[in-house]
């Protein structure tokens, strides 16, 4: 485990808090420890009346290439009931998925329910975790080189919340991302309503700070009360139900069985390692023309 997987700072003068994911050697994939750190910092930020906006960004060329599957097994084993038998119990899988990702204490739920205005700097790969960051944050500023998607859905099936994606981009576009797994370019993401602003990569941070200051000029009472009104409205739009369903569905991910002729991603990870499995999966997909230009 690297010593620092994310850095945190607070600028009281501009009322802005910053979260910077720094695992560039892993393309800022989010592991359990990093997710915890982010949640803990959001707890602190939520209790700090000086802060009105939170900026989330990643070090290096990518925002985040996804969930770091390297610690998937330990996530299950470490959960209550996870080590009673040789294979983690279903309750351990549920608890692990809930507490780390989709449940009230999980990373996505925590970010979505932050009481401050949350602003994302999206660049390079914004895959899976990166995509969900864009959906959970209030505002997203994207560099022209950003791409959004969830390639893992094509290998294993869609296992995360779909309600935010559908509410942002529409039902058929969401399904397109589910069943063709070709990431969207930043300009597509802007067209579809996933991204709010598109800027050259070297202007990304400056634009994000400008927007954060704009938000910070709104009265605090206005921001916090609107966030709570938003939480009420997210429930009306079924986001709570969808997160609860995502907890159940995602916990069944490791129960997936592959038909004899299917590419068994999980077995390939075990056999040849994660990098090799991803490469094999990509190569296989590249052979199929997608009908897209």
């Amino acid at each position: 485990m690297s010593a620092v997987s994310a850095s945190f700072s607070i600028d009281r003068d501009s009322h802005i808090a910053r979260i910077r994911i720094s695992r560039p050697e892993r393309r800022n994939m989010i592991d359990i420890a990093t997710g915890r750190l982010i949640c803990d910092f959001l707890d602190q930020v939520d209790d700090d009346d000086d802060i009105t906006a939170v900026l989330l960004s990643g070090e290096g060329p990518d925002l985040s290439a996804g969930w770091d599957v390297a610690d998937v097994w330990s996530m299950y084993i470490d959960a209550p009931g996870g080590a009673v038998k040789k294979v983690p119990s279903q309750r351990a899988r549920l608890i692990a998925v809930a507490d780390n990702w989709w449940g009230p204490r999980g990373l996505y739920s925590r970010l979505l329910h932050c009481r401050k205005v949350t602003i994302l700097e999206a660049q390079g790969d914004c895959l899976e975790t990166g995509l969900f960051f864009a959906l959970c944050c209030d505002l997203t500023i994207a560099a022209e080189n950003a791409r959004f998607g969830c390639p893992r859905w094509h290998t294993l099936g869609a296992d995360g919340d779909l309600s935010l994606l559908i509410a942002a981009v529409g039902l058929k576009r969401a399904k397109d991302l589910m069943y063709t797994a070709v990431p969207w370019t930043a300009s597509q993401a802007l067209d579809y309503g996933l991204v709010d602003w598109l800027v050259p990569a070297d202007e990304l941070t400056a634009k994000a700070v400008e927007i954060a200051k704009m938000c910070a000029s709104i009265m605090r009472d206005g921001i916090v009360s609107e966030k709570y009104a938003l939480f009420a409205s997210l429930e009306k739009m079924g986001v709570g139900l969808s997160f609860a369903a995502a907890t159940i569905v995602a916990s069944s991910l490791s129960n997936i069985h592959f038909q004899p002729a299917e590419f068994n991603f999980l077995a390939e990870v075990k056999r040849a390692g994660e990098a090799s499995a991803v490469a094999a999966s990509r190569a296989r997909l590249d052979q199929i023309s997608t009908g897209k230009d």
Binding site: A167, S217, M219, D221, I223, A232
Partner: protein, 306 residues
């Protein structure tokens, strides 16, 4: 039903909200007529809108209801700092009862004028030009069936910076109309959308240049009104039913968050205090000069006169 307002504001409402029915075409016109205030809506004006819609709903000749505004703007929102019959002036910021009446009964709630618009069995249209801000944005433009806008209209929760977004990000209706992310953007930045931008997002059905807007809206309204009246009622009825199933209403608690209940922090401008001292226009100017304030409307010739 109790009607709130001062004797003066109640007396003025019939001239500030005009109503005419073109019985030949089946189009009813609701015209906001308070151009000196960018058609800011007083409490009696909003009550009058509710009354007119009820009248139009019962009028078999009316198939389509169009909202429009005289003067430079469609409407800048609700009148602020208004005396509307609170027992004591400070009550507007202090008691839950009065806030809930103002925010819910009179606005977001089932008795409010915005729901009178969204629940009309007739097809509703808004013809938008100039500013369409604050309540005009989320209680008229986002409640009608079809919006026709001038290319350069300025639409959005422009008051959010000094009064709070007041439901602009949270409204389920707005989330369904412009998308979940754009709803948060417009609420949390207070930035206006142009008519063209609002069309791209899905709020506006069609745009026209300012000089063509009135004709264009009339054509659309008359074309729709030429359809079979029974068919239109059926169509609107099933759309309304589907909206109910989807649940497009605003969380009713949002009514509590109307600006009157919010307080400014010591380092924030007290909009109400400033408005009392230097008037609403002066308070808006003071807001622009605040430390750290980034004005999202930079480049505009002026700000919306609420």
């Amino acid at each position: 039903m109790t009607r709130y307002g001062t004797a003066e504001s109640i007396a003025a409402a019939p001239t500030q909200v005009l109503y005419e029915v073109d019985r030949a075409t089946g189009v009813a016109w609701i015209t906001l007529n308070r151009p000196e205030k960018h058609n800011a809506m007083s409490v009696p004006m909003r009550d009058r809108i509710t009354d007119i819609i009820h009248e139009a709903n019962l009028d078999d000749d009316v198939r389509v209801i169009v909202f429009r505004g005289n003067g430079k703007s469609f409407c800048s929102g609700n009148e602020i700092n208004e005396e509307w019959g609170q027992r004591r002036p400070h009550e507007r910021r202090r008691t839950l009862n009065v806030s809930y009446r103002y925010g819910t009964d009179m606005a977001w709630g089932r008795l409010g004028f915005s729901q009178a618009i969204s629940r009309s069995p007739k097809i509703t249209i808004a013809q938008i030009h100039g500013y369409c801000a604050a309540a005009a944005y989320f209680m008229i433009a986002c409640k009608v069936d079809i919006v026709i806008a001038a290319d350069d209209a300025k639409v959005g929760a422009l008051e959010a910076r000094f009064l709070g977004p007041a439901g602009a990000a949270a409204s389920v209706h707005i989330n369904r109309i412009i998308g979940m992310k754009a709803a948060r953007r417009t609420g949390f930045t207070a930035m206006p959308m142009s008519g063209v931008e609002a069309q791209r997002l899905g709020l506006v059905h069609e745009c026209a240049s300012s000089d063509r807007l009135a004709d264009h809206a009339r054509n659309v309204a008359e074309e729709i009104a030429s359809q079979d009246p029974g068919a239109l009622l059926h169509l609107k009825g099933r759309i309304r039913a589907a909206e109910g199933l989807m649940d497009t209403s605003v969380p009713s608690v949002t009514g509590l968050f109307v600006s009157h209940h919010l307080q400014s922090a010591p380092d924030e401008m007290d909009f109400w205090k400033a408005a009392k001292e230097v008037g609403v226009g002066g308070a808006l100017d003071a807001d622009k000069r605040r430390k750290g304030a980034v004005d999202p409307r930079t480049g505009d010739e002026g700000v919306v006169a609420l």
